[in-house]
């Protein structure tokens, strides 16, 4: 049985590789409407697999063994979260989208034209049109005609966010400096 501490760190590496392969295959082949449900499911299953494998290879006899397991699980979860966050923030997010538009559509390389392309001609701009239906569907916000009202679930989230703004001196967040 291999007992070197570094060998134990290969488990999360394997877990993360499988997470990436499964996530990529799911999004590429099935194009799910809400990929994060799949990401969450894969991450939890792979954490379980890592925990079981670790315990089978290295029984938790000492506190160092338990710490090794915690370390493996945290590193694996962090790497999965990093991939997940990169997928949403960089490939799907706002700054990534801006750069994508500027890189692929030279006609948008002007501030006013870029802003107009996001404002669009409809009732809602491109940013709100993506988010408001999800906020309403998720029960965070009520929408009546052109008025939005925060629901209790939204109040809890907003209070927590506001507390984070204050505690970590983030200003008003939302990507605005």
């Amino acid at each position: 049985m291999v007992t070197g501490p570094v060998i134990r760190l290969l488990l999360p590496v394997a877990g993360v590789a499988v997470f990436f392969a499964l996530s990529w295959a799911t999004v590429f082949v099935f194009q799910p409407r809400d990929p994060k449900r799949f990401f969450l499911g894969y991450a939890l299953l792979l954490l379980l697999a890592t925990a079981l494998t670790y315990r089978a290879l290295w029984p938790l006899d000492r506190i160092e063994d338990a710490l090794g397991l915690a370390c493996d699980l945290l590193l694996q979860l962090l790497a999965c979260l990093t991939m997940w966050n990169a997928f949403y923030s960089v490939l799907w997010g706002f700054s990534g989208s801006l750069i994508y538009d500027l890189f692929n559509e030279p006609g948008l390389c002007h501030r006013d034209r870029l802003i107009r392309s996001y404002e669009g001609d409809g009732d809602l701009d491109r940013i709100l049109a993506r988010r408001l239906p999800n906020l309403v569907r998720g029960g965070w916000v009520d929408r009546h005609d052109r008025t939005l009202r925060l629901r209790p679930k939204g109040v809890v989230m907003a209070v927590g966010t506001l507390a984070s703004f204050k505690v970590f001196s983030l200003g008003m967040g939302g990507g605005v400096k």
């Binding site: 194009q31 700054s95 989208s97 501030r111 006013d112 709100l128 993506r130 907003a158 984070s164 939302g174």
Partner: protein, 167 residues
């Protein structure tokens, strides 16, 4: 053993969060992400030498290695957590509604407080600060080499995941 371990992990996370909050309060113009990275790496040796305090006895070398990596991973979680309030458009919308009278806003009022012009103006300024692009006085935008690399990476990533529609 499990309880002690959970308490140790929570203590390390709370310690880093408290240090980041304190430093951010003093350095209000600094990047909170840089602060998190510096705090995680600078405090990792402290965490390792706090083994007796955290576990009641000195750890073996392998335990110290795992403790240092655990500490750094917790810094990584704090980094990810921070992107939520700091970057999320959705959370900012909820906060604007919370701060509005009767916790309600018309779409027009919401857009006036936090609209596309504000968002894009600020993101472009950040991309300019990050040397990804330049913006001329007449509004013309030119991608710099770093911006073109970023654009190529996003384009390749979207192709790889077959993302055809995003923000």
């Amino acid at each position: 053993m499990l309880l002690r371990l959970v308490l140790a992990v929570l203590t390390l996370f709370a310690l880093q969060a408290a240090l980041v909050a304190l430093i951010s309060a003093v350095r209000r113009r600094g990047s909170v992400y840089v602060t998190i990275v510096i705090v995680a790496f600078a405090s990792a040796p402290l965490a390792v030498f706090a083994d007796r305090l955290l576990f009641g006895r000195p750890l073996q070398p392998d335990g110290r290695l795992f403790l240092a990596l655990t500490h750094l991973a917790l810094g990584g979680f704090l980094f990810h957590f921070m992107t939520l309030p700091d970057r999320s458009v959705t959370l900012r919308i909820l906060v604007e509604l919370l701060l509005a009278p009767d916790r309600a806003l018309s779409l027009g009022d919401l857009t006036a407080r936090y609209g596309v012009r504000t968002m894009i103006g600020s993101r472009l300024a950040q991309l300019q600060d990050g040397r990804c692009l330049t913006i001329a006085a007449d509004g013309a935008i030119a991608l710099l080499p770093r911006g073109r690399s970023f654009g190529r990476a996003v384009t390749a990533g979207r192709r790889m995941f077959r993302i055809t529609s995003a923000n």
